[in-house]
């Protein structure tokens, strides 16, 4: 038996089976992810306002980007995304804690209630805010009938855009956080309380570090999703703020300058990839998906 085991492993090739099972996914990614991205990078090197891919590469688009004010929309996108992450962390952590540790049947209810929203197009949900906040909208109407207050439209400013982003991406923060808080063993918390730790100490020294994978995944997801957001700024923000994603979109639609749009996309991809890799390099995802750390 003992000398059969390694032989069997070798001939069956569990390594090969693993690679084989991964191959459909790998092919999909090569065709649908890597190749298109290379296409974008290459297109960014083509002369402006052309649609042909087979020309001599040039850096002209990048020069245009740095000469004009595109960095402003990049800063807006990064800034809005960062603010969204911070607000959502503060809003979702208590809720996630309650869902993981306190509520029983309530947890399932909240999960359904929030998860359902994931499947309704964000446009519809943002449109609800428009109806609520527009002049003579639901909020304005209620204030007028109840308090006699007359207010103008609450739309088209930066706080509303942030609200819209927090609203749309809340599930992406909440669910990873619930998974994360679930990983904190009750015994450890109780032991800490028994040893005389204060609530704040337990939070700082036990809850937060042990739920860190959830915090990281949630923050990353929200950051990346909101950095690429188009609809929020357009539907709720009017023309107030131009994000990098809508800059890129208009290069492809109105301006019909695909090479410039591609160069912008490339820059944007590089920026987000750096952020994601810096964050992902710091922790092990397996822990969050249910693998015991001891294994």
């Amino acid at each position: 038996m003992s000398d059969k085991q390694p032989k069997k492993k070798f001939s069956f090739g569990p390594g090969l089976v693993g690679a084989l099972s991964a191959s459909p996914f790998a092919l999909l990614m090569l065709f649908g992810f890597v190749a298109p991205l290379l296409c974008v990078v290459w297109f960014g090197l083509m002369p402006p306002k052309t649609f042909e891919l087979l020309q001599a590469p040039t850096l002209e688009n990048y020069r245009t980007i740095f000469e004009q004010t595109y960095f402003k929309s990049i800063m807006w996108s990064l800034g809005l995304a960062a603010v969204t992450v911070v607000i959502l962390l503060a809003v979702c952590y208590p809720l996630a804690f309650a869902m993981a540790k306190i509520f029983r049947s309530g947890t399932a209810f909240i999960t359904y209630a929030i998860a359902t929203s994931l499947f309704v197009s964000e446009n519809i949900r943002l449109f609800g805010w428009v109806i609520g906040f527009m002049k003579k909208g639901v909020v304005g109407g209620l204030l007028e009938t109840w308090f006699g207050l007359q207010i103008d439209s609450l739309l088209y400013n930066v706080p509303v855009i942030v609200l819209g982003m927090c609203y749309v991406y809340l599930p992406f923060m909440l669910f990873p956080l619930v998974l994360g808080v679930n990983m904190v063993p009750d015994q450890v918390r109780e032991a800490a309380f028994d040893l005389g730790a204060s609530r704040w100490q337990v939070f700082r020294k036990i809850d937060l570090p042990l739920s860190m994978p959830g915090v990281m995944i949630g923050s990353l997801l929200v950051f990346v999703l909101s950095v690429g957001a188009i609809s929020e700024a357009k539907i709720l923000g009017g023309q107030k703020v131009v994000t990098i994603a809508s800059d890129i979109e208009s290069e492809f639609t109105y301006a019909q300058n695909w090479p410039l749009g591609s160069a912008l996309s490339t820059l944007f991809i590089v920026l987000t990839t750096i952020v994601v890799f810096l964050a992902l390099a710091r922790f092990d995802l397996e822990k969050l998906l249910g693998k015991k750390p001891s294994e």
Binding site: P14, G15, V17, A19, S21, A22, S23, P24, F25, L28, M29, G32, F33, P36, L37, V40, F51, P94, A98, M99, K101, I102, F103, A113, A115, T116, S117, F119, V120, S121, E122, N123, I124, F127, G128, W129, V130, I131, G132, K136, G137, V138, G140, G141, Y167, L170, E190, L221, L225, A229, I230, A245, F252, W258, S265, I269, T272, L280, L285, L289
Partner: protein
């Protein structure tokens, strides 16, 4: 965990508040969809409540077209991404192989990637390949984004897979195919079902990818976006409400299935462990 009553009440109050704010826009859309006026203003008198827009929405051939495009994309996406996700979940969570760690990182990349840019990249790629974009190129785009999600969902189940069951079957002489069919697939079924529901629903609501990859076909979220940014129609909120209802029903049905199959597989595992 032991919590005091006031603590629990506090947390419940907070959760209720979050849900209230969260559902405020849905409430607004419902209010708007029932108003008779062409241009919405609030509040409106009771006599002006009408279900006319719902009738319009349900009978409009235009809306039917968009729904059918969205459904086609959703079904193809779900089939493709759950099949691919099943195998990649095994590679992700179950088998020990050389490239596993790298694979686990790479699976996440499309998720941590702005969708609008991915949509544009695919548009250029299809253009380069001389493929005319239509609903099925959109299905490819959705699959690229959703296959990693189905992989993760099925992986969670695959981590809980009792390896000794597979080993026992192998020791008794079952082939790899038999093990896959009789043990691995039934045990992973709850994960696969919830992955299917995620795939359909995420594809149904997706806008950023569809915007660039549907070409002449148009999915429902695109039409809604166009109507919202230019040319408001009172039918839009009605379609929105119907959309929300559809999602709620689908979520309830599918969660019911998941609950049922989890219980079933737990019983199966217990029975198999008992022998």
């Amino acid at each position: 965990m032991i919590v005091s009553r006031t603590q629990k009440a506090g947390f419940s109050l907070y959760a209720g508040l979050v849900l209230l704010v969260f559902y405020f826009p849905v409430f607004c859309i419902i209010v708007a969809s029932l108003s008779k006026r062409r241009f919405f203003s609030f509040p409106y008198p009771q006599e002006q409540i009408t279900f006319k827009w719902y009738e319009d929405a349900l009978t409009s051939p235009q809306v039917h077209d968009f729904v059918s495009v969205s459904l086609r994309i959703g079904v193809v996406t779900a089939l493709a991404s759950v099949t691919i996700g099943f195998f990649s979940a095994l590679a992700y969570a179950r088998y020990r192989w050389k490239g596993r760690k790298t694979f686990q990182r790479l699976v996440l990349l499309p998720l941590f990637f702005p969708q609008s840019v991915l949509g544009l990249a695919l548009l250029m790629w299809f253009n380069f390949l001389d493929v005319t974009t239509s609903w099925w190129t959109a299905a490819i785009a959705h699959t690229v984004w959703i296959a990693p999600i189905t992989t993760l969902i099925i992986s969670i189940q695959a981590y809980g897979l009792d390896e000794s069951l597979e080993e026992a079957a192998r020791d008794m002489g079952a082939t790899r195919w038999q093990i896959l069919r009789k043990i691995t697939i039934p045990l992973l079924l709850p994960g696969m079902i919830s992955a299917t529901c995620f795939a359909v629903l995420l594809s149904w609501g997706n806008f950023a990818l569809s915007l660039f990859t549907t070409g002449a076909d148009s999915a429902l979220p695109e039409w809604l976006y166009a109507r919202m940014t230019s040319g408001y129609q009172p039918m839009v909120p009605a379609v929105g409400v119907l959309n929300v209802l559809f999602a709620i029903i689908l979520v309830l049905v599918l969660f019911g299935i998941v609950k049922w199959s989890t219980r079933k597989s737990r019983r199966a595992t217990a029975a198999a462990g008992g022998h």
